[in-house]
């Protein structure tokens, strides 16, 4: 259908619940399938809309390739995505949920490392004494690269991580990490702490639209 608007919403967790509430509170009642594991939905009285529940990262990808016309996902995932993809997406609105910080975190016991400048120095120490680079585990290699380089840290190596990044420094896979933290509890529970000037990004959930899309978004908001 030419006028059909396809919207991607996160498929699980708090982000899913909050995204549904946001639509409901905006007068767009989301109807989910009665089948528990079905990934499709609709909006009440809006026959030209279709909801697809997807992984938040997938939503960015699919808006970028034109499969979705709009969607709710995180600013962190959008900023981390490739430049060519970002060019095809617009941030329509920042939403008041899903707020979290992407931070650089070091082991609690590294008491000599309080700032990025300390980290830069330690990375040079590692390089000169052991001829190895500081390993930084992350799910956000692009944002981490840009941030560290802008702060003068050049002697490091990215270790891509898919999850449980907080464990990496203690199992010998990396020395430090960058990760998303909302309250700091997960970091603290895993003997890590964010550096005081180590904020990479203040992220939040956002409503994204596909750029150069001639669909009538007015039926939504």
């Amino acid at each position: 259908m030419k006028d059909l608007i396809t919207i991607g919403l996160p498929s699980k967790g708090r982000l899913k619940d909050k995204a549904i509430s946001f639509f409901n509170n905006s007068g767009l009642k989301i109807i989910q399938s009665e089948k528990e594991r079905n990934y499709f939905g609709t909006i009440e009285n809006k026959p030209n809309t279709k909801i697809i529940f997807l992984h938040a990262k997938e939503i960015i990808q699919r808006i970028g390739d034109g499969t979705l016309d709009a969607g709710v996902s995180g600013l962190d995932l959008f900023n981390e995505s490739e430049k060519n993809l970002r060019k095809k997406i617009i941030i329509k609105r920042k939403l008041d949920f899903g707020s979290a910080n992407l931070v650089v975190a070091v082991p609690n016991d590294w008491i000599d490392v309080q700032t990025i400048a300390d980290l830069e120095e330690v990375s040079f120490d590692l390089k000169s004494k052991r001829n190895s680079r500081l390993r930084v585990a992350t799910k956000y290699p692009n944002l981490t690269n840009d941030f560290l380089i802008s702060k003068g840290v050049t002697q490091y190596k990215i270790i891509p991580s898919l999850g449980s990044t907080e464990t990496y420094p203690f199992i010998g896979s990396s020395e430090i990490i960058t990760d998303i933290s909302s309250t700091g509890k997960t970091l603290a529970d895993n003997n890590l702490r964010a550096l005081k000037d180590g904020l990479i990004l203040n992220s939040t959930a956002c409503l994204f639209y596909a750029k150069n899309n001639d669909k009538n978004f007015k039926v939504l908001f």
Partner: protein
């Protein structure tokens, strides 16, 4: 003059000055480049994965490629090259392919003499291929190091400023921080000090995320015993900024530096080793000296120079005594080189 003819003229000059042709490998193991230049450099090189799982790249720079060849003992120590380097750039309309013609002297025994030899050879080429007025601008990174090492500030700050001299934007941030901020966070300091004493009691060889307890405590101790004051920071930054404004004709350099020392109440003769620059007087050529110069290439350690024809840069080079070590040599190997930019000719 056509490009081919130009290249021939340049190569003839290289040869007549005793430089021997080398053909550096086109494909390099990208880890060499990343290890030296840092992770960010990855986005600028053109790579592919080889069958044995290595990430190979097209040579991004002929100096680095020549160094690698020298380290494999495949070439003599006074070389010239003529070829292409391949690099991605974020600048619009920039080419992937850069034609480079250059010379290098590896393992300099007489550094002053070799610096002069390289500059004289490049100048000889410039004069043969260009009709506009030739000018040379020079700087010397080692003068900056001499200045920093005489200033009264924590050792780690000295190293930090020297390390980042080649990155002017970040260097400026460092100066601002040196002027204003304290290095120690007074809020967390007491907690950390308590932890310091606790950690002193545990096994000092215990490894925490790749660093031993003793390494962590030593650095913490050094940091708290080596604080700096606000007023000193301000004074130091003022001296550094005024040093970076020095700009003069080569003939006036000595007086300028003495004047700078005097005005800033520094010890006499902190700038001793700039004979390489002084020797350029023999060129009988207009040479301008600038302290704030040669800051865009990480590996320079001494003299840095650019040759202009009119307003166009046609060649640049400098001394790089640490590059070979960072590429795998057991110790620093003195080296100097320069390349001619064919695009601007």
């Amino acid at each position: 003059m056509k490009l081919k003819k130009l290249s021939e003229t340049i190569i003839k000059t290289f040869k007549s000055n005793g430089f021997v042709l080398t053909e550096p490998d086109v494909l390099l193991d990208s880890e060499y480049i990343i290890e030296r230049s840092g992770e960010k450099f990855r986005s600028t090189i053109l790579t592919y994965e080889s069958e044995d799982g290595k990430t190979m790249c097209l040579r991004p720079d002929l100096t680095v490629a020549s160094c690698l060849k020298f380290l494999q003992k495949k070439i003599s120590s006074k070389i010239y090259y003529s070829g292409q380097a391949y690099r991605r750039s974020s600048k619009k309309k920039s080419n992937f392919i850069n034609d480079q013609l250059g010379i290098e002297i590896f393992g300099s025994k007489n550094q002053i003499q070799d610096d002069f030899k390289v500059i004289k050879t490049i100048l000889g080429c410039a004069k043969k291929i260009k009709s506009k007025k030739i000018k040379i601008k020079v700087g010397d990174i080692s003068l900056f190091k001499s200045l920093i090492n005489t200033l009264d500030m924590p050792e780690r700050w000295k190293l930090r400023l020297i390390r980042h001299f080649w990155r002017p934007t970040y260097f400026e941030e460092l100066l601002k921080r040196l002027e204003k901020n304290a290095d120690i966070d007074s809020v967390t300091f007491d907690i950390d000090k308590k932890k310091f004493y606790e950690m002193k009691k545990i096994d000092q060889n215990k490894v925490i995320a790749g660093r031993t307890v003793s390494e962590i405590l030593k650095r913490f101790d050094r940091k708290i015993k080596d604080p700096r004051s606000f007023s000193d920071g301000k004074k130091i930054v003022k001296i550094i900024r005024s040093f970076l404004k020095i700009k003069c004709k080569l003939s006036k350099l000595e007086d300028k530096l003495l004047d700078f020392e005097k005005k800033n109440n520094l010890k006499n003769n902190i700038f001793k080793n700039y004979e390489s620059i002084q020797s350029l007087k023999k060129l009988k050529q207009e040479v301008n000296f600038i302290t704030n110069f040669g800051r865009d290439v990480e590996y320079y350690t001494g003299i840095v120079f650019v040759v202009f024809s009119g307003n166009k840069e046609i060649a640049r080079g400098g001394r790089y005594n640490s590059l070979l070590k960072s590429l795998g040599a057991r110790k620093d190997i003195p080296a100097v080189g320069a390349a001619i930019n064919l695009k601007n000719i």
